[in-house]
Symmetry: C2
Subunit: 215 residues, 2 copies
């Protein structure tokens, strides 16, 4: 099977290692599947030809002999459905894997991004500070829940790493060094377990090596 992943050939420094094709590369390496990366420029990603594949002009896109796909969550699930390395094969185990992929992308990541966005500018008025406090509380509530869930577990579904862990640790990694996350040593340890995986390390090195030098 020929697999092609579309990624950007350049992003600003802070985004390197975090662009979402990273999650797809990680999944493919966990699954042991070979693939080819098509690098495109940011201008190309906005052009109509690319938008016929990715309506929002984002990366990644993915193509194999069967499907032409966008949205990293959907791509990772598609890969997971084809590999024992990313999800149990029984219906119950598969369904739980999908639940955690959605939980990472819909219940945790937006709440974290929201807070990060608020923090980009100082909150000076009382209303702004109330908004910031609300965003912090919202994230803290989610991290509390996750920490409670993980008590005594290696991965979200006990001893087996799944695509759900891939997505959840990829999301938590974006909070690395943040006080809100470091208040939970168990969540830090869980994230580090994800980041220590050889497939993670290989995917990270590969994405970083694919960027062209700054113009």
């Amino acid at each position: 099977m020929t697999i092609e992943v579309g990624a950007l050939n350049w992003v600003p420094e802070p985004a390197r290692g975090y662009v979402k094709d990273f999650r797809v590369r990680w999944a493919l390496k966990e699954a042991g599947l070979d693939y080819k990366v098509d690098l495109i420029g940011m201008g190309e990603a906005s052009a109509p030809a690319y938008r016929a594949r990715q309506p929002f002009g984002q990366v990644p896109v993915y193509r194999d002999d069967e499907v032409d796909l966008f949205e990293s969550g959907a791509i990772v699930l598609h890969i997971a459905a084809r590999s024992d390395a990313l999800a149990p094969r029984d219906p119950a185990g598969w369904a739980r894997t999908t639940a955690w992929v959605f939980a990472a992308l819909n219940s945790v990541e937006p709440v974290a991004f929201w807070l990060m966005d608020l923090r980009r500018e100082a909150s000076t008025t009382q209303a702004e500070q109330a908004r910031l406090a609300r965003a912090q509380d919202r994230l803290k509530t989610r991290l509390d829940s996750l920490s409670n869930w993980l008590a005594g577990r290696l991965w979200l579904e006990r001893d087996v790493f799944t695509a759900g862990d891939l997505m959840m640790t990829a999301v938590l990694r974006e909070l690395r060094d943040d006080d809100l996350l470091t208040a939970y040593p168990d969540l830090v340890a869980y994230t580090e377990r994800g980041l220590a995986r050889p497939a993670f390390q290989a995917a990270l090195a590969e994405q970083l090596a694919d960027f062209v030098p700054d113009p």
Copy 2:
């Protein structure tokens, strides 16, 4: 097959008809599957017994003979995998359906919620106004993309309604009457096509009828 959906027995008025079990009820009605609704109070949703099923203390939860599941995205995909009414059966068509479910939940909904949250308080300082403008631009960019994609299409994947349309119109519906959405008559018309479906109407009536009176 016995299907049970867990939902709240009461929420404040503005949330009625929007609580996320609504999306699951809609999917089940599109699929023509019978189910039973378990109504719980908000206190019960925070209790450890419930959190063993739903780690974040949210609704909905879902159970059938095979799976015990949370996250409405995952539940709707699980139902879609069991019904011709919500997704094509071929791998390519199925994959596209999952892409749109993720697009609705990860690329559109968080951007909309972000803006709604910012609007809850007046933006008075220059920094706040810049943040609000940024959030509006971000949503406008997504709506532009979606509007371009939908040109000449009845549903996201041309003539066939899928779970992706269910999720996308459920998300756009939350922007109903908002100037940002009404600037796109095609997106309004698309949303209304979703809302006009008998399964949508039946699910809405059912959720509203399930709430107990205000205390």
